[in-house]
Structures are given as C-alpha cells and as structure tokens.
Symmetry: none
Subunit: 218 residues, 2 copies
DNA sequence: TTATACCACGAACACCTGTTCTGTGTCAAG
DNA sequence: CTTGACACAGAACAGGTGTTCGTGGTATAA
C-alpha cells in the first residue's frame, strides 16, 4: 500500500524535525508544516503512517511518536554499535582465553564496533595483543584482535592456532596440505611454516584487527 | 561549578529518557523520576543545567530541551557513530589524497566508527591502502588507515610523510634529530631510515588502523 | 542580628496537545 | 441512485505542560 503525497511529506517532516530539534513534532506542528489546518486530519494520517510501520505512536502523550522503519534501521540497526567482550590479553607462549560454553554474559570490558564492520556479535570475542610476538602476522603490541570462535577453518583463513608441540599460540593463514598444515605468515615477505596436522588446534578465525595509535582527546 | 546530586540525577534521567523514548521528558516526568514534587524546582534546576551548558532549553515549548555538550556525546556517542570520509586509495609512489581546505562536505564513501575509538571526526579522513608497500609499517593491502590532517608531528608519532627526493609516501614513526629526520618503521625488527629534514613533508598523523579480514554475512 | 544567596515547595494560570465528534465532499461498487 | 469507504475540515474538550508567583528553610557573610 503506497503513501499519499501528503503522508510522505508528513513522514519527511517528522524525520527532519526529530533530527534537527531533538524531539518529535506535535500534531499541530506537523499540520502547519504540510498545510493541514485540522488536527484530526493529521491524526488520521499519522495513524496510517503507524499502520504502515513507518512511525510508532504512544497514546495520549505529547509528541508521542517516533520514526521507525528503514530510516530507523539505518539509525538503530546500522548505527547501533556491536558490543564484543574483550576477554583479555594474548601473548605468544600462552594459551588464549576462549569464551566458555556456558558463558552467556560477560561483565568485563567490552569494545564497541559499528555494524558496518561487524554485522553481528554472535560467537565473536576480542583480545588485546601483548608484546611483539605477532609481528609476522602484522599485528603489533596493543592491537585488538576480533575473533570468531570455531574449530575448523577454510584454506587461507587467518586463524589463531595452538601448536601443541611448541606450546604456543600464533596467528597465521592456514592451508591444509595432505597430512601437514602450512602456516603462512600474514607478511608476504616471510616464509611459511609447516606443522603436523595433529599438532595444530584451531582456536578461532581472525575477523578484524584494530590498531589505535592515538587516544584522541574528547 | 559542580552539579548537585539532584542535578546530576536529572541530567542522567534526561539522557536516558531521550535515548530510550526518542523524545525528551516533560518537567513533571523529570520531577517524578528524581523525587521532586514541584515543577518549579525542576524548572529551577533545569535552568542551572542549561547555564552549565549541559542541556539546551527552548522557551515555552513542551519537551523543549535536549542534551548537549561533551558529556552528552559520551552518552549519545554510544549510538551515534562518527562518519569519516574515505578519500581514496593510497599506494607507495603516489601522493596521498588530502582533504582540500574548502572541503566542507564529502559525498563519497564514508566509514563509520564508534566514538569509543574516535571521539570526534574533526580533521580526520580515511584511506585504504593498496598493495604491500606499507608492510614495514605493519599495514597490509586493504587496510583502512584513519588519519588526522596536520603539518607537524610530535616525536614518535606515526605519520604519513611525503619524501620529495624519492617521490613516495610512506608511513613511519617520526623522530627529529638535529637537521635530519629518523623514520622508524613500525616493525621493531626493521632498521630506521634517515632523511634530510627538508625532504620530508608530513601529511598527517595516523590515528587508527582497521584491518577487516572477513566480510561477515549479515 | 540582619542581609543575601541558594534551594526548595505548592498553587494557580494560560496555553498546548491529543482525542473525539459532527459534518462535507469524492469516488467507485452495488 | 444508493451505499460505503476514504480523505478532509472544524470545533470542542479534558488533561498535559511550561511558567510564574508567593512562601519558607538553610547556610554564609557582614
């Protein structure tokens, strides 16, 4: 069901007004902006906009309406940041902290990222890298690594792997080759490393790396 | 001038209410939330909040107030990401595109980041790195670099510098030493590089690096 | 003590605001 | 033509809402 010209104007006005003034308009403000003298007509069309899902109304409350729908999604969906638990620090030689199975809520530190980068937070967690041991993965001291928890990996995925025999964790691109695994450093100028398939355990896939060089003043 | 306990409660309530409901509260709604029976007392304290610059008031308008100021940014910042213009690609051997002086609006691509990472967008712009030429700065093909436009730099800042004699742009930590400049690669295992102070022109300071290894499905 | 801010309370008022009701005109289906 | 749905206008009303006024308590300085 399409919107009439008037309803579209109303919707645009409500959106713009709310954005500019920081509060929704009153019925009469809407009316005078689109050239409607009667409040009942505005009310009538507002109900239609609400029925179409473009706005939400709250009964008997002044300015009790808000824009939803596509534009709201752009605001609340695309713009509402994803919160990802920052589980701790990692360093070579230490196993990385993984989210436990029954963990539903993390009351520790969180990092916020836009949905443009991370559409949803399912199975994701973040770690802050300590030390220079991951330089060959182009990851520096202080970098934050966002990972997705998973056991397996596709060829070429950048993964956190636990090397049983060496007792250390590294971040490498992973390639299965027969019964061995090729671990390719992120840095293309560096040589790959080979390991027995039974000695590598994939802990998760690296999804995003954030390096904050400057804490900007507010 | 500090805020009284009551005023702080009021401010927090206004912020939360506005965020949750999509509209500012009325004087009476504020009053009942913080336990003030008289509207005049709320009005009185609202004027103080306005005087302190924490909120803006509009006279004789229902719900005519809105949160502003630095603290408001921290509150709204959780939901309102910073939009930074993605000016283009950079590669070694090419000058990087800089924001022009008169540029007020950029209608090209933008990247969104949370205010947790970037408090405000002033003077900031982003570039996507093309090729492997910045490997020694721990920056890979496809990485997005957020920079702050500026001519000078503090010692140790990670900067984009234009080397006149070599005709190329690099990202290095910069240290002034008498009449020469030490350009230190981000990678601590690599040797620094020295240049004549007259040959280096600082284009901007690197603030943030984002590497997206996986485009996650929505 | 008095004076003066500051902070608070309650009441009253005028206007704002959403709701509802009656009425009018148009247009297509019956 | 009649009917009904739809879109609109105007008026009236009850309650919401910002503002203002008078009052009083409490601290601090003169």
């Amino acid at each position: 069901m399409g919107l009439s010209d008037r309803q579209q104007k109303m919707y645009e006005f409500i959106s713009k007004f709310s954005r500019d003034k920081g509060r929704p308009p009153t019925i009469r403000e809407i009316g005078s902006s689109v050239g409607i003298s009667s409040t009942s007509v505005v009310n009538y069309n507002l109900n239609i906009l609400a029925r179409e899902g473009l706005i939400q109304r709250e009964k008997e409350v002044s300015r009790g309406l808000r824009v939803v729908g596509q534009q709201a999604k752009a605001f609340l969906g695309e713009f509402a940041p994803v919160q990802i638990p920052l589980l701790g620090k990692i360093a070579a030689g230490a196993p990385i902290p993984l989210p436990t199975e029954g963990m539903t809520k993390w009351d520790g530190e969180m990092i916020a990222l836009t949905r443009e980068l991370i559409p949803h937070e399912e199975g994701l967690f973040a770690l802050q890298v300590k030390g220079n041991s991951m330089i060959d993965a182009l990851i520096n001291d202080g970098d934050v690594v966002v990972m997705k928890k998973q056991d397996g990996a596709e060829n070429g995925d950048m993964c956190a792997v636990w090397l049983k025999d060496k007792n250390e964790t590294t971040l490498k691109r992973i390639y299965r080759e027969k019964n061995r695994v090729r671990l390719q450093p992120m840095n293309p100028t560096m040589k790959p490393f080979y390991a027995d398939a039974r000695d590598v355990r994939i802990q998760g896939k690296v999804v995003l790396v954030v390096r904050q060089l400057q804490k900007l003043p507010a």
